[in-house]
C-alpha cells in the first residue's frame, strides 16, 4: 500500500469537461511513462470501472461525430455527485509508493456548497482549473463568462489561497483545444487569451509572496484529438456547442492530457522532497521510483504548443 498521498482537485463550472479530462489522463498515462523506468499507475477497482465507462462514452462520442449524426446525448454524462478517484503509483512489480486522489465534483457545487469546494481546495496539492476553450475563443469570447464563470472561479481560488499557507500548483487547463493548437500562431493566441481573460486571478496570485508558494502554469489539452469546433447554436433549451470530426483521422486520439500528470507529479515530488530531511528521504521513496518520476517530469512541455509556466518555476524544478 502506498504511503504518501497527493491530492488533486478538478475545478471548473458545469460542463467544461473535468471528468472527461480525468478519463483521458488515465487512458494516456501509459503513453506518458513509456521508457520511464517502469512507472505504473494502478487505479482502485471502482475508479477503473467508472473511468473506463467514461472513456467508452468519449470514444463513442467521437464515433458518432465521425458518422455525421447528431451527437446529442452521446457526451460524457455530467457529474451529479462529488467523488474521489483513487490511484496508486509505483514501479512495475514493486510495492506501490504514492497514492493519488483526484477529487471531482459537480461544477454547481461552487454555488450550492461553496464551503465543500473550499475544503477540497485546502486539502489539495494541485488544482486543475478546466476551461472550455471554444467558449473562451469563439465569437470573441462571447460565451466565456456564461460557461467558464471566470469571476466565480477567481473569487473561489482567491479565498482558498488567501486562507492557506500550503505550497500549491494551479494548472489552467483549456479543454477541447483541438481547433486552437494547429499552428504556433494559434497556440500563441490561445495562451494570450487565457492570460488576458484570467488576468485578475493571475495578477492576484503574482502579488506579494504568493509566487513563493503558488506555482501557476497553462496546460492546454485536446480531449478527443480528432475533432474541430463547428458552431454554436441557440436553441429553445438554451445553448448548444457542435463539433465535427476530421475526415481520415482515427476516432479518439487525445493530445497533451499526460502533460497535466507530468506537472502534477513533478511538483508533488519536489514538494514532498523539500518537506523531508535527507535522512527521512532515504526511507520514504525508493531511488529507482524517484528517478523515474524525475525523468517523467523533466519531459514536460514548458514553452511551446500553448504551454507556459507563469510563476513558481522553482517549485516545479527537480534538481538532478
Amino acid at each position: 500500500m502506498a504511503g504518501t498521498t497527493l491530492r488533486i482537485t478538478m475545478l471548473g463550472p458545469r460542463g467544461v469537461g473535468k471528468t472527461s479530462l480525468l478519463a483521458s489522463m488515465y487512458n494516456e498515462f501509459d503513453v506518458a511513462v513509456k521508457n520511464m523506468g517502469g512507472l505504473t499507475l494502478v487505479p482502485s477497482t471502482e475508479t477503473s470501472r467508472i473511468l473506463s465507462e467514461r472513456l467508452a462514452e468519449l470514444k463513442r462520442q467521437t464515433e458518432v461525430l465521425s458518422s455525421g449524426y447528431d451527437s446529442s446525448g452521446t457526451g460524457v454524462s455530467g457529474t451529479a455527485v462529488s467523488r474521489e478517484f483513487l490511484f496508486e503509483l509505483g514501479l512495475i512489480a514493486k510495492p506501490l509508493e504514492i497514492k493519488l486522489v483526484f477529487t471531482d465534483f459537480p461544477g454547481g457545487f461552487v454555488t450550492i456548497q461553496p464551503q465543500t469546494v473550499l475544503d477540497f481546495i485546502h486539502e489539495a496539492d494541485v488544482m486543475v482549473l478546466a476551461i472550455d476553450a471554444p467558449a473562451l475563443m469563439e465569437q470573441k469570447g462571447r460565451w466565456h463568462e456564461t460557461i467558464n464563470a471566470p469571476r466565480q472561479m477567481t473569487d473561489l481560488i482567491k479565498r482558498a489561497v488567501q486562507a492557506g499557507h500550503e505550497t500549491k500548483l494551479l494548472l489552467l487547463a483549456p479543454i477541447k483545444c483541438e481547433t486552437y493548437l494547429q499552428s504556433p500562431r494559434q497556440s500563441a493566441e490561445l495562451l494570450a487569451t487565457v492570460k488576458d481573460r484570467y488576468h485578475p486571478l493571475l495578477s492576484f496570485l503574482n502579488a506579494d509572496r504568493l509566487p513563493n508558494r503558488i506555482a501557476v502554469a497553462i496546460t492546454p489539452v485536446q480531449t478527443l484529438g480528432t475533432v474541430r469546433f463547428d458552431r454554436i447554436e441557440k436553441t429553445a433549451d438554451g445553448l448548444k456547442f457542435f463539433f465535427r470530426k476530421i475526415p481520415g483521422q482515427g476516432n479518439y486520439a487525445p493530445m497533451y492530457v499526460e502533460e497535466i500528470l507530468r506537472y502534477t507529479l513533478g511538483f508533488s515530488i519536489k514538494k514532498y522532497l523539500d518537506d523531508l530531511s535527507w535522512f527521512m528521504r532515504l526511507f520514504k521513496l525508493t531511488r529507482p521510483f524517484e528517478h523515474a518520476i524525475r525523468k517523467m517530469a523533466a519531459e514536460r512541455k514548458e514553452s511551446n504548443d500553448g504551454f507556459q509556466i507563469l510563476q513558481g518555476k522553482d517549485l516545479l524544478n527537480l534538481k538532478h
Binding site: 454524462s77 455530467g78 455527485v81 467523488r83 448548444k240
Partner: protein
C-alpha cells in the same frame, strides 16, 4: 410522503441539485433527509454507492424509511449534449407510509425503468418552473407523477427472470441483517419477496436497510456493517450471500496480519 428529485437543466448554471417537489408543483431546494443521515467519510452519497449507474438504496431516517434511486436515464440533454439523469428520493413522514416505500423499492429492484420513466415524463422543460429560488431548468408536473404512481402501485411485479430462481436455502428469515453478495436476479427476487411481505419487519437500527449498486468495493460495507442490511454489488465476487460474523472477523484478521 415527501418526494425529492435531483436533476439538472440544459444551461450551464442549472447544475444538479436536490429539489423537493409537492402537489403545488413548486420546487424547493432541499436534500432528502437520508442524504444527511448517510454522511460518510467525505460526506457524499458516493461514499455509499456508485451513482454513475442506477443504484437503489432503502434507508432509514428517524426510524422512518426512505428510498433513493440514482442515475435514472432521461430524454433530456444539456448544452454540451450530455445526457441528463434524474435522481429520485422519497421519505416516509409517518409509519403508515412504509408499505408504499416497500412497494416502490420492490418495483425499482424488479425494473427501475418504471419509476425512471414516470419521473422523466413528469419532468418537462416546456415552461419556466415554479422554483422558489433559482430556475432549475425544468418543471415538475405533479398530476402526471401522481397518475404514474397510481399505475405503479396497481401493477403486479412480474418475474422477468424465471431462469434465475430463488435459492430457498439462502432465503431471508424473519430479519434483514448484514449480508453482501454479487448483484443477481435471484438475490433481487429474495429481497423483493421480503419487501412485499409486510409481515416481515424493516429493522429499526439500520441506516441502510438494503442497497443494490454497481461498482462499489465491499471493504467500506464491511467496515460499516453495523449500519447496513442487505448489499448487492456488481463488484462482489461471491455468488453466495456472505454474512457478518465469523467471515468478517476472519477477513479483518487476515487484512490486519498482511497489512
Amino acid at each position: 410522503m415527501n418526494y425529492y428529485l435531483m436533476s439538472a437543466g440544459s444551461l450551464p448554471n442549472q447544475d444538479y441539485r436536490w429539489w423537493q417537489f409537492s402537489e403545488d408543483e413548486k420546487l424547493m431546494p432541499a436534500d432528502p433527509p437520508l442524504i444527511r443521515q448517510l454522511a460518510g467519510p467525505t460526506g457524499q452519497l458516493s461514499d455509499w454507492l456508485d451513482d454513475e449507474g442506477v443504484s437503489i438504496l432503502l434507508g432509514q431516517c428517524k426510524k422512518l424509511p426512505g428510498l433513493l434511486i440514482t442515475s435514472l436515464p432521461t430524454g433530456r440533454c444539456d448544452y454540451q449534449q450530455r445526457p441528463i439523469r434524474n435522481y429520485f428520493g422519497c421519505q416516509a413522514t409517518s409509519p403508515d407510509e412504509q408499505l408504499a416505500i416497500r412497494t416502490l423499492t420492490a418495483s425499482a429492484l424488479a425494473d427501475y425503468r418504471m419509476i425512471g420513466d414516470a419521473l422523466d415524463q413528469a419532468v418537462t422543460t416546456k415552461a419556466k418552473s415554479k422554483a422558489v429560488s433559482s430556475d432549475p431548468g425544468f418543471k415538475f408536473d405533479w398530476q402526471q407523477w401522481e397518475n404514474a404512481l397510481h399505475h405503479l402501485f396497481s401493477m403486479q411485479i412480474q418475474d422477468d427472470h424465471p431462469s434465475e430462481p430463488i435459492n430457498e436455502a439462502k432465503k431471508w428469515g424473519r430479519r434483514l441483517r448484514f449480508r453482501i453478495a454479487k448483484d443477481s436476479w435471484s438475490r433481487r427476487k429474495e429481497l423483493i419477496q421480503y419487501l412485499l411481505n409486510d409481515d416481515l419487519p424493516l429493522p429499526k437500527h439500520l441506516t441502510i436497510i438494503l442497497l443494490a449498486t454497481r461498482y462499489k468495493e465491499s471493504a467500506f460495507f464491511w467496515a460499516n456493517h453495523h449500519k447496513i442490511g442487505a448489499v448487492l454489488s456488481a463488484l462482489e465476487e461471491s455468488a453466495e450471500w456472505q454474512q457478518a460474523g465469523l467471515i468478517r472477523r476472519l477477513t479483518g484478521f487476515i487484512r490486519g496480519f498482511s497489512g
